[in-house]
Symmetry: C2
């Protein structure tokens, strides 16, 4: 099955469980609004690509891991958009969840998506029960305290922020879960895959900073210039567009080099270089070295 | 080891993992504020009592299940207290988390406690990996959609509410997780234990309604009269205090009768009748029938 379709089907299956007969309809609709239609699904695609590169034959554990990571990503977007954080009116070209459904259901939709992520892992564990604890701890680490997304977001409430730690937690952690989780789902030693995820996460953050300065809001489905408006740290504002593009090239090169020995290393390396170009506004894409 | 001490130690161990070196200190403090000092820890004590009644010999899985249930309970209190829901200033005799740490860290503390609950289950799975998926799905069901706490809270945003469904999700689900999870952690068939948890949950809800009308705010550690102020459904307001006390007696009797055949049934039955008295303001306790 096509990778993208597999991800959408697994996400749809998870949402359908949450929408069972007798569910409060507003919250069910808010959850679906948060997950569909999706963005680029970069994290779950990375997870499945790593599982394939590791030689996985049965993709059910990898698909569950990929879906759980995407559900957690969507949950974090819903909560980040709340009035007490970014107060974002628009997300993926639609009203944000709290604008569409009100603040109470936005808080609950984020909560429910976090729970659903862990349930999705548990439901698909039948094929490989011995891997469940590893996958759970990998995914949990990427979103919880002390080093996951919530920790990253919490650094915004601290008077002094270690910038590298902030980005590693807020953006890098979920990419690391994608690579480590993909390898663990394939049944291979997963720790050596962390570096790849962290490098891609860092590259994604730089590309996101560039888009926020130079992107097209219609193409992005959200407003630009938010980093400057909110006084946030940004590679593009620190290094300039050209400096940020150089940094992005360097990180993608390091990411490609960090891929552990595995059956599909060459193919994965090519895929990562190709995907990196998708991160950027079209007019800024350089020809790959 | 004493049951209460075992619960506090497991919770403290879980929090310590979240507070690892490099954690954002504000969020770490907000999480601890939400969990310690605790309330009556009714749900985790019930979970351990059921595991004991089922003849469990190793309590590590039961303690992890009990702690995860309490962490989810604390998470739900933090989010329920937010300005967009109850806007509660006080909880357990202290400022609520958003009053003490601000709204952003309160949202994140709830999120982080949900994640920590699932991580706590996974970390203690070493002793019985084959039970992990069952325990996860049991706990997940009690807090997620379509029948868990978040679903219960979401019914407050609906124009038409099925009252029984609302209470079953908002209060009953976590008590059911305590009984079902306690039995599953002990390795016995867990489904027959759901009725006990649901009855106790319903009894607890009635007692809570009574306390909200007739309780002492100092003893409760939170204001009374909130149900009336917020226009919420309440057994005490519908049936009067005497009617509500009759209903409570009936539910506790039904709960005691529903206990499945197990080595410690008689002891558990006595414990439940005793604990039920603790639900109430002292002056309203009737002599057990």
């Amino acid at each position: 099955m096509d990778v993208v379709m597999r991800i959408e089907q697994t996400l749809d299956g998870a949402l359908s469980e949450a929408e069972g007969a007798g569910a409060p309809p507003g919250l069910a609709a808010a959850m679906r609004h948060a997950v569909f239609p999706g963005g680029a699904r970069i994290r779950p695609r990375l997870c499945l690509a790593v599982a394939r590169a590791c030689g996985a034959e049965d993709f059910s554990a990898a698909a569950a891991t990929a879906a759980s990571i995407e559900l957690l990503h969507c949950a974090s977007l819903v909560h980040d958009d709340l009035p007490c954080f970014d107060d974002a009116p628009v997300r993926r070209g639609k009203p944000s969840v709290h604008r569409a459904f009100g603040e109470p259901l936005a808080v609950l939709a984020g909560d429910a998506l976090i729970v659903l992520a862990f349930e999705t892992l548990a439901r698909h564990a039948a094929a490989c029960p011995e891997r469940l604890a590893t996958l759970l701890l990998c995914v949990g680490r990427s979103v919880g305290m002390p080093f996951g997304i919530v920790a990253g977001q919490a650094w915004e409430s601290e008077p002094r922020v270690d910038l590298a730690r902030y980005h590693r937690a807020k953006t890098g952690a979920l990419f690391a879960a994608a690579t480590v989780g993909g390898a663990a789902a394939a049944g291979v030693e997963s720790a050596p895959w962390r570096c790849l995820g962290e490098k891609i996460g860092e590259a994604f953050q730089v590309a996101d900073d560039i888009r926020d300065v130079a992107g097209d809001p219609d193409e992005l489905g959200k407003p630009v210039g938010r980093d400057a408006a909110l006084g946030r740290m940004s590679a593009a504002r620190e290094l300039g567009i050209d400096g940020a593009l150089d940094r992005l090239d360097l990180l993608i090169g390091e990411a490609a080099e960090s891929i552990p020995r595995c059956p599909g290393a060459a193919e994965l390396r090519a895929l990562i270089r190709l995907e990196a170009q998708r991160f950027l506004p079209k007019e800024l894409v350089r020809v790959a070295a």
